[in-house]
């Protein structure tokens, strides 16, 4: 362990025992987070990105879950920490925002009370003072007429306003880390732009480190400085955002980048796709997890590559693929832009 980084995750493994077998949701994930930076975690459903962020919060406490590995937050180990230790950290030092604010808020309490309750859970402060702080926070996240709105119930808020309440709640105890799990997926684009802008501003102002879980590369580019790409419970590529967009190394990343229609480019006839479908985490393949869908797979892919291949001159940039850097740079160009070449004989 070291005290260098704010948050350090080492070989984290989370699995769930189910009737059908063991689901390996997070399968050996290691990364770090520094104070004040914004890290994006990109992946599709079943990539383990949500299971990972819930574990960081100490929220995966199901009886069928097994954890391995270490998570250090400011030097404290979180995996296996006592519930009382976690209670001091969770919500106060590491806060979280979820995709669906309606189910994260209690429908029968006024939103002001809910924010105040959160403050009082972590600080010795009078009920009245906590109420005032709640209103200040609501004003700060852009809720108009906060004093009045604090007395309203969650159902009286629009989706965007509810997410603002969640942000106010997350920032109420001056956290060091904010984990936002698809915070704007349920929102309209104009509201999404507002919320992302405000979140970024608040984090920058108070030096909060952000872990943003998303599937949208547009959001990654506009918010984050570094990114992790996850596939089937593993990190397949990690890089600064610039490196990820300019020089993506893993075939899965190419596929993701290529398969999204883009507003800033001329319209193409056909979208490059990733063949096949997202894998089951129940008894995952022993080979490279992406090999069954990868058109560039070869003999060596029988063995899982380590997340170790460093791109020369890019110290942050690592990926999990046996291909050489030169091969990758040649193979990823499809019709003049980055994408995954079509595989022959794909069936669904």
């Amino acid at each position: 362990m070291s005290g260098e980084h704010l948050l350090e995750v080492e070989d984290l493994r989370v699995s769930f025992a189910t009737e059908d077998g063991v689901v390996r949701a997070v399968d050996g994930v290691s990364f770090y987070l520094d104070a004040g930076e914004a890290l994006a975690v990109v992946g599709e459903s079943g990539s383990g990105k949500s299971a990972m962020s819930m574990t960081l919060m100490g929220l995966t406490r199901d009886t069928n879950a097994t954890f391995n590995g270490q998570v250090y937050f400011e030097g404290t180990e979180l995996i296996g920490a006592s519930e009382s230790t976690l209670r001091h950290i969770r919500g106060a030092k590491i806060a979280m925002i979820f995709q669906d604010p309606m189910s994260a808020l209690n429908p029968v309490y006024r939103v002001g009370e809910q924010i105040a309750e959160q403050i009082r859970a972590h600080e010795r402060i009078s009920r009245r003072r906590a109420g005032e702080r709640a209103i200040e926070l609501m004003t700060r996240v852009g809720i108009p007429q906060a004093a009045e709105r604090a007395r309203a119930y969650p159902h009286e808020f629009s989706g965007g306003m509810r997410q603002r309440v969640m942000i106010a709640m997350a920032f109420s105890c001056s956290p060091r880390v904010l984990i936002a799990d698809e915070p704007t997926t349920a929102l309209d684009v104009t509201v999404q732009a507002q919320i992302l802008g405000e979140m970024r501003e608040l984090c920058e102002e108070s030096g909060v480190a952000l872990i943003l879980v998303t599937h949208d590369f547009g959001i990654v580019a506009s918010v984050a400085e570094r990114a992790l790409v996850m596939y089937a419970g593993q990190i397949v590529e990690q890089a600064t955002v610039e490196e990820l967009f300019e020089d993506p190394q893993h075939p899965y990343t190419w596929g993701l980048l290529g398969s999204v229609p883009r507003l800033d480019r001329p319209r193409s006839e056909r979208l490059p796709t990733i063949g096949g479908s997202t894998p089951s985490l129940l008894n995952p393949v022993r080979s490279c997890r992406f090999a069954p869908r990868c058109p560039h797979a070869f003999g060596r892919c029988e063995e899982v590559p380590p997340l170790a291949f460093e791109v020369p001159g890019q110290h942050e940039h690592r990926d999990r693929c046996w291909l050489s850097v030169d091969d990758k740079r040649a193979l990823r160009v499809v019709d003049g832009s980055i994408g995954l070449a079509a595989a022959s004989g794909q069936s669904f």
Binding site: T190, Q194, G197, P261, S277
Partner: protein
């Protein structure tokens, strides 16, 4: 109908001055209608044969209600829908005919397939209604399944045995079974993962070419809509604010709301400048829509005129229609040549946009 002159070629579907209001009821024992949600308020457009019309807008703008009215799942409060030139009477006998011609694919592939039926039965229902003899049905279902990229061997599987993307393919096969000429796709890919989304989008465009179907593609993802559509209609609070050929809309949006929507889409490019937040606030309630132009409370270009007079849809060169008093991206010549479109809402004012009223 004057809409025909506009489109040139005979249109598959003509919607004129369509309204759908949802009553808001209050009261114990006796319900009183206290207000109306103006979900779709005087919307007119045409869909030519074999074309894709994209319909975009934020949640609550009425795009799904509009789709449901076209399918006869809701009856319109006012206005007419003509299919191949014939008036569609909702709820009457020819609603049956209409259902055969217009099919729908829903957003949630899980919720829209009967979990207790095998996919073979689900797809065959359409064939039965079309009068395909029992003996032929199975082989036709197999052909349909392979058309949509599914393994025909899976004919006896249940919906839960498929992944999300595959279920959406079943939904498409079911729609194709009745050989429709128009398929309404309501957010068909937004529930799917990014890598699967592209597969389904490609499938839809292949099928369109092969079966010569027109699509009404309802979605909120502007990049996806641009990819699939020939023309795009933008809705805001129950009104159509802009309708134009797809590329034109992206390069020169005329209505400030369209420009706002486009600017709000995050672009996956690190060198793209981080734009300031384009628009403040959220759409107001369709219960009490603002007078005049419905976008004026959020619009940076709004003037007294916008607060009072509802702008008509104005036809600019290039088949580009927009309802704005202070249009963007049009020059003096284009404004002087512009005409009031017959697709304008009946309540719209006569005021034509002026040149240089702003900026």
């Amino acid at each position: 109908m004057d809409t025909e002159e506009l489109s040139g070629s005979p249109s598959l579907l003509e919607v004129s001055h369509l309204r759908h209001y949802f009553p808001v009821k209050r009261g114990v024992l006796i319900d009183r209608i206290v207000a109306h949600v103006q979900a779709v308020d005087d919307v007119s457009f045409v869909i030519p044969e074999r074309e894709t019309l994209g319909l975009v807008g934020e949640s609550g703008c009425g795009k799904s209600t509009l789709a449901r009215v076209l399918l006869g799942l809701l009856s319109p409060t006012a206005g007419t829908v003509r299919f191949r030139g014939e008036d569609v009477r909702f709820g009457g006998r020819n609603a049956q005919v209409l259902r055969r011609e217009i099919q729908m694919v829903f957003q949630d592939p899980q919720g829209s397939l009967n979990p207790r039926k095998r996919v073979g039965q689900i797809v065959a229902t359409g064939l039965r209604l079309r009068g395909v003899p029992r003996k032929e049905r199975e082989s036709r279902v197999r052909i349909l399944l392979s058309e949509v990229g599914l393994n025909p061997e899976h004919i006896n599987r249940f919906p839960h045995e498929f992944s999300g993307g595959q279920r959406q393919r079943v939904g498409v096969a079911r729609a194709l079974a009745v050989q429709p000429s128009l398929i309404v796709l309501d957010e068909p890919v937004s529930a799917l993962d990014v890598s699967i989304r592209a597969q389904v989008i490609n499938l839809l465009s292949d099928l369109q070419r092969e079966f010569e179907i027109a699509y009404l593609f309802v979605a909120h993802d502007l990049a996806v809509v641009r990819h699939v559509s020939d023309r795009i209609a933008v809705m805001y609070l129950g009104k159509l604010v802009e309708i134009s050929p797809s590329e034109e809309l992206y390069f020169k949006p005329v209505h400030p709301y369209t420009a706002t929507l486009l600017a709000a889409v995050p672009i996956p490019d690190v060198h793209q400048e981080r734009k300031p937040i384009a628009v403040k606030g959220e759409p107001p309630s369709p219960l009490k829509p603002p007078p005049g132009c419905r976008f004026h409370p959020r619009c940076s270009r709004a003037t007294q005129l916008c607060r009072e007079v509802e702008p008509p849809l104005v036809a600019y060169p290039g088949d580009h229609l927009a309802a704005c008093h202070h249009p963007l991206n049009v020059d003096e010549g284009e404004v002087t040549r512009a005409l009031r479109s017959p697709l304008s809402p009946l309540s719209a004012g006569e005021t034509m946009p002026e040149v240089g009223t702003q900026e």
